[in-house]
Symmetry: C2
Subunit: 352 residues, 2 copies
């Protein structure tokens, strides 16, 4: 039998998943009431939701509940309170879907979560830009519907707005880390990488769900949010480095996506580490093949990565960072750490 923690976690996940179709129905009912829309438009919108939102690992969405429960420790949580945490969790998953649909267009990606990227569907194409915006708007529909009369309503809206802006700034750093069509490997530094990770990934993936759980639990001590952010940035750096590693060396059958980082000239953990130890001969290969939209070229870059021992180096980095993050969490006092443990555990040695 799995340890009871694992079983409780899988119950939580099942309960969380069960809420999604209800929220879709709510959103569709509201659209039906507030707009005069033909059947095929309603069908198109439902497909957008069902195709893009529920098929991820759901750790972001679940983290809201984990955090909320950890901070309510001792209290009996009423069903409507549990549901509130699930709804905010789905709002985080909507935010993620909004970002991914747009990001896949910008990165010219092919697959996502084991299915074609949304914009690759023949009936969608660049409509996906607008569809991603619709997903974003639905976050605020749901929050207004379910939290308008709550004392934390405006804080919840602000959290989503702030983290959305932060993520967009992070995307901008990612997208502009090189000038268009130029390979400027000297720009790929530890500092540039850390900045991209911090803004592009860590805030929305880790800090947002934790902060939402805390806000919902009416935590008002700013120090708790500051501590949470510090830990979430650490975990986020760990997570994004894994994401970069899997982009080159993961199994697309398992990750559900085909990597694009090398072809898209992205600043990643791998290229930053490669540049630290590359010989002049390696540098020539990297300069010639990085950022070229062709598999033969990206394979040459991967050969350099392999020759430079980056797979091994990554394992060491992974172990070291995991230990550091564990230590940070152990050192926390005066606030529950269940959410951080859930998040960190979900990442350990992940293959997807």
């Amino acid at each position: 039998a799995p340890p009871s923690g694992a079983s409780a976690t899988s119950d939580l996940k099942a309960n969380f998943k069960a809420v999604f179709p209800e929220l879709v129905d709510e959103i569709m009912a509201e659209l039906h009431d507030q707009f005069d829309l033909p059947e095929d438009a309603l069908k198109y919108i439902r497909h957008n939701l069902e195709y893009n939102v529920p098929h991820g690992k759901l750790n972001r969405g679940l983290a809201v509940s984990h955090c909320y429960k950890a901070f309510r420790k001792g209290d009996a949580i009423k069903p409507h309170e549990e549901r509130a945490a699930y709804i905010l969790g789905w709002c985080v998953e909507l935010l993620q879907a909004f970002f991914l649909v747009a990001d896949d267009i910008m990165d010219a990606s092919v697959t996502r979560r084991g299915q074609p990227c949304f914009f690759r569907l023949p009936q969608v194409g660049l409509n996906a830009i607008n569809d991603s915006l619709v997903l974003e708007s639905m976050i605020y529909r749901l929050i207004r519907k379910h939290f308008r009369d709550s004392s934390v309503y405006v804080d919840l809206v602000h959290l989503f707005q702030d983290i959305t802006y932060t993520t967009e700034i992070g995307q901008l750093l990612d997208l502009t880390s090189n000038e268009a069509d130029k390979v400027q490997l000297d720009r790929f530094t530890d500092d540039a990488l850390a900045r991209i990770y911090k803004y592009k990934t860590s805030h929305y993936t880790f800090y947002l769900p934790v902060a939402l759980g805390m806000r919902l639990a009416e935590v008002s001590d700013q120090k708790c949010y500051d501590t949470a952010k510090q830990i979430c940035l650490k975990i986020g750096h760990f997570f994004q480095a894994q994401d970069d590693f899997l982009d080159a060396f993961g199994d697309p059958e398992v990750t559900g996506k085909v990597g694009t980082d090398i072809e898209e000239n992205t600043c990643t953990w791998l290229i930053v580490e490669a540049l630290k130890v590359a010989t002049p001969a390696d540098m020539a290969i990297l300069n010639e093949n990085y950022g070229v939209k062709n598999k033969a070229n990206s394979d040459k870059v991967k050969e350099v990565y392999t020759r430079l021992g980056l797979k091994d180096k990554f394992l060491k980095f992974e172990n070291k960072t995991y230990e550091e993050a564990t230590k940070m969490i152990e050192d926390v006092s005066g606030m529950p750490t269940g959410a951080f443990e859930f998040l960190l555990t979900s990442l350990y040695k992940r293959k997807k």
Copy 2:
């Protein structure tokens, strides 16, 4: 000498324009304080603002002030109150910029406001998707900075959220009015057109600035908002029909943009009217050439439009609709109508 009304209007416009660089500086200062960003990222963001936001006709932004002043009639408006209306006006212009940057990608447009569409700039490309999102986020930064302590703060946020969602739904109707790569002219009906106009254009272009001005003037009577919406939807229908006409028959030197509607298979006033009177021979030409991404094909469609007398029909439609809208405004009682008059006058016989 111009009539004093025109002179007051041009003063207002100059004052309104003078506020934009100040808001840019505010936004940049906040970015500098809240994020750790390299110089070139800050420069990129400033360029996004300066390239995309201030170069339109600015009637949307100005309408906020016109409406606010009309509703404050009799009161002495303090400088900080006047400024508040300008700031909300620039938020409407930000919203418009956000939509246009994204729309131009989806419509494969070439020019906008006499300059290349943002995504056509070599240093931008599909980054423009993210850049449009950044523009959207800045709306809420500005509103929070300037109105957080105001009693109307949450209403202002809700107005922007609601109208954004409405516009996205309208874009979706526009984009899905045909299935991808199919020409299904029978779908182009008066009803479909009216629905697209209402959601895609009228709400954000006309109702939003008026409602913002009213909210800022602390108008709380729901009937006033309902009346305003009715008139704004009428003016919006008029405006979008003009936009459709100018897309085919306007002078790109004057409109600042090259039309894409025929090639993009768009549901427009022209095609809907053409279908009402087309002979079987015309229908064959329309079916063969509509929605084909080639100038020779779209020219053939325009020949049919011309042969069917649509230019003349449009002039009649324009006069009739203008008169109907004027009548609607004259019939309003119990609330000032200055904003509607400003908006309708700004459209009369417009060439851009």
